[in-house]
């Protein structure tokens, strides 16, 4: 029994360490790339660390960058736990931002204390709708959410481009010849409270609080239990009387909601207006996909996603310094993020293998016990 306990804690430790190994492997690849590109990896990595943590401002920027990753990562925890793969974070973030911005532009006279929560709610709902549509298509028409969520991203981008160059365009830009596709700046009173002089805003705090709420949702409520049950075994869930289709829609609805909220927070906390360069990344900075990386790295656990998001936020902020210091484009970080995903999902095989082994051992043990007890029973009978 004692040995079993010990091996159990060792496996737990390995589970936690696996993503770290995966990250180290990705970093090793990054170092190799840097050497090939003629840069000193040590110099590059120290520039990266300095860029991300070197000063109060740098640290604040890291947290600001980590905020959308954490929020989107929380949504990913919900959907992936429900075995629904949401690749639509980019689009959901854009729609959330558009809804919140539209509300902010429509009612510039509202007091901040009313507008900020309402705008957050608008973002939340916008993302939820944009996630709920592919959810419903999966649940009721069996359409793969992998593809429909990605298509919804492309549609959201075009919607953004249309709205920012037409109905929502800044009146100043509309009168100019250049017509830069952007909205007017939102009223100053709507800015999320900020820890002056840094750029750190209330959004980071909201995200961390929500991480705890998502933890409670997933493991302490019936809704969370149902989403996870459907994720683990849809057939058994159906027999247990769970409405599987409803859970699938809810998982994507909630997942999208968090991405939408990330969009609203990005506008009200950082940009204070929306502007488009025609692409999704221009607004999201690839957060829709990087949030997946963070959630996977945090083992799809809301609380694990907090440090994971912080780490990837640091990578993104540090990348700019790295680019200046050793002239290696920050795109390197995108490539490394991709590798982290590949390594994390690949290393999962060790955990599965061990679980399988444990299951077999447990069965064997149980059979032996049964055999033993039947023997003693027989012996007792003979007596």
């Amino acid at each position: 029994m004692e040995r079993w306990l010990r091996s159990e804690s060792v496996s737990k430790l390995v589970d936690v360490l696996l993503p770290i190994f995966a990250a180290l492997a990705a970093l090793a690849f990054g170092a190799l790339m840097l050497i090939i590109l003629g840069a000193n990896p040590l110099e590059a990595f120290s520039a990266l660390i300095d860029g991300a943590f070197g000063s109060t401002n740098a640290l604040a920027d890291t947290v600001v960058k980590a905020t959308p990753l954490l929020l989107i990562g929380l949504g990913i925890c919900i959907s992936f736990r429900g075995n629904v793969i949401n690749l639509g974070g980019e689009g959901q973030m854009i729609i959330g931002a558009l809804m919140a911005t539209a509300l902010g532009l429509a009612f510039p006279d509202w007091p901040g204390i009313l507008m900020i929560p309402m705008a957050m709610l608008a973002g939340f709902l916008g993302g939820a709708i944009w996630g709920g549509i592919p959810g419903a298509l999966k649940a009721y028409f069996n359409a793969s959410e992998l593809l429909s969520t990605i298509m919804m991203n492309a549609i959201a981008v075009q919607l953004m481009n249309f709205l920012l160059s037409g109905p929502m365009i800044d009146p100043v830009q509309a009168s100019k010849a250049s017509k830069i596709p952007q909205t007017a700046r939102l009223a100053k009173v709507f800015d999320l409270p900020r820890l002056v002089p840094t750029r750190l805003h209330l959004g980071a705090f909201i995200a961390v609080v929500l991480a705890f709420l998502v933890y409670i949702l997933l493991w302490r409520t019936t809704l969370g239990y149902r989403i996870r049950a459907v994720g683990q075994n849809p057939r058994a869930s159906r027999y247990a009387g769970i409405d599987v289709k409803k859970q699938i829609v809810l998982a994507l609805f909630l997942s999208g909601a968090f991405a939408g909220l990330a969009g609203a927070i990005q506008v009200f906390g950082v940009n204070h207006r929306m502007i488009t360069d025609g692409s999704a990344t221009g607004f999201t900075g690839n957060a829709g996909f990087n949030g997946i990386v963070a959630a996977l790295f945090g083992q799809l656990h809301p609380l694990g996603t907090i440090p994971a998001a912080f780490l990837f936020g640091a990578l993104l902020v540090g990348a700019n310094k790295l680019q200046r210091a050793v002239q290696v484009p920050s795109a390197l970080i995108t490539a490394l993020n991709g590798l982290v995903v590949v390594f994390v999902v690949s290393s999962d095989i060790w955990r599965r293998r061990r679980e399988q082994k444990r299951l077999i051992e447990a069965t064997v043990e149980q059979k032996q016990e049964e055999l033993l007890s039947s023997h003693t029973a027989e012996a007792e009978d003979k007596q």
Partner: protein, 310 residues
């Protein structure tokens, strides 16, 4: 203004560029058809295309030889395909997610190499239209179908080759068996992992060529994220075509014709908001996904790793 669309020259132009624009979709979706038929969902097509596009462009640009560029795209695609195969088959990673990893890797890596090795947007003179005696001279038909570059012809040839291999050869039978019922195939002595390796590696090569068709045959430039979602659409087309090469080609053509029309609408300055025109293909894809899934069933073992004795 809309009647401008209905002149002979414009209609021929729309059809001709529609045929041409289908090229990258055809290469990528034929590769993906093979991969999915064998039971592996390769969601990394976009990343493989980007790296293929860069490799083809860079080698063509530096050596001046387009065929060396093609070779570079093929090798790049092969390596990416083998990596995807290893991760899906040996390490049994969740395919929907590992594919996103490959996408991000290709996106970042091609951008990094582009900035480091080229720095600015350059152009190459890519593959030129090939004149086919007699056929190219037929009025209208010749202009639409037989005034294309070699990669365009290759793409349509590939469709028929893919159809032939899948339906008329033992290899095709093995690929389908492995994707439908790996246990049964295994018990008949077919190596599930070998067949899947072949199919996924082939898919990688095709994605590489699809990228090359953009960078050295259709657009003749390389830019960051130049595929902008094309690889994902190619995967959707496989679903749309119900995993059958000819139907996938039908979907690709429908798609590229809509795209071509959209481009001409912009060129002719017809006042339809271009954002909505650009949006149309994606809306169409979602609708197509819904319709096609009601009609055909995906390969039974799609995304399911195979292990003996289960």
């Amino acid at each position: 203004m809309i009647e401008q669309l209905f002149t002979k020259a414009v209609l021929v132009g729309i059809l001709s560029s529609g045929i041409r624009l289908a090229t990258p979709y055809l290469y990528a979706s034929m590769g993906e058809t093979f991969s999915q038929r064998s039971g592996v969902l390769n969601l990394g097509v976009e990343g493989q295309m980007l790296l293929g596009a860069f490799a083809a462009f860079y080698i063509s640009f530096t050596t001046g030889n387009l065929w060396l560029g093609m070779l570079a795209a093929i090798i790049t695609g092969l390596l990416m395909g083998l990596a995807m195969a290893f991760i899906s088959i040996n390490l049994q990673a969740v395919q929907g997610i590992s594919g996103i990893g490959f996408y991000l890797f290709g996106l970042g890596m091609s951008d990094l190499l582009f900035q480091k090795l080229l720095g600015t947007v350059e152009t190459v003179s890519g593959f030129r239209p090939v004149y086919i005696p007699w056929l190219s001279d037929i009025p209208i038909i010749g202009e639409i179908f037989f005034n294309q570059n070699i990669l365009v012809y290759g793409a349509y040839f590939l469709v028929f080759a893919a159809w032939f291999v899948l339906n008329k050869t033992t290899l095709g039978l093995k690929i389908k068996a492995v994707g439908e019922s790996p246990q049964a195939a295994d018990s008949l002595g077919v190596s599930v992992s070998k067949v899947r390796y072949f199919a996924v590696a082939f898919g990688g090569i095709m994605s590489g060529i699809a990228g090359a068709s953009l960078s050295i045959a259709l657009l003749n430039v390389f830019q960051q994220n130049m595929t902008s979602g094309l690889g994902f659409i190619a995967i959707a087309l496989v679903y749309f075509g119900g995993w059958r090469p000819l139907a996938v080609m039908g979907g690709a053509l429908l798609f590229s014709m809509v795209n071509s029309l959209q481009l001409w609408v912009q060129v002719l300055n017809i006042p339809i908001p271009s954002d909505f025109a650009v949006m149309m293909p994606y809306v169409l894809t979602i609708l197509a996904l819904i319709v096609s899934v009601q009609r055909v069933r995906p390969p039974s073992a799609l995304t399911k790793p195979f292990e003996r004795g289960h």
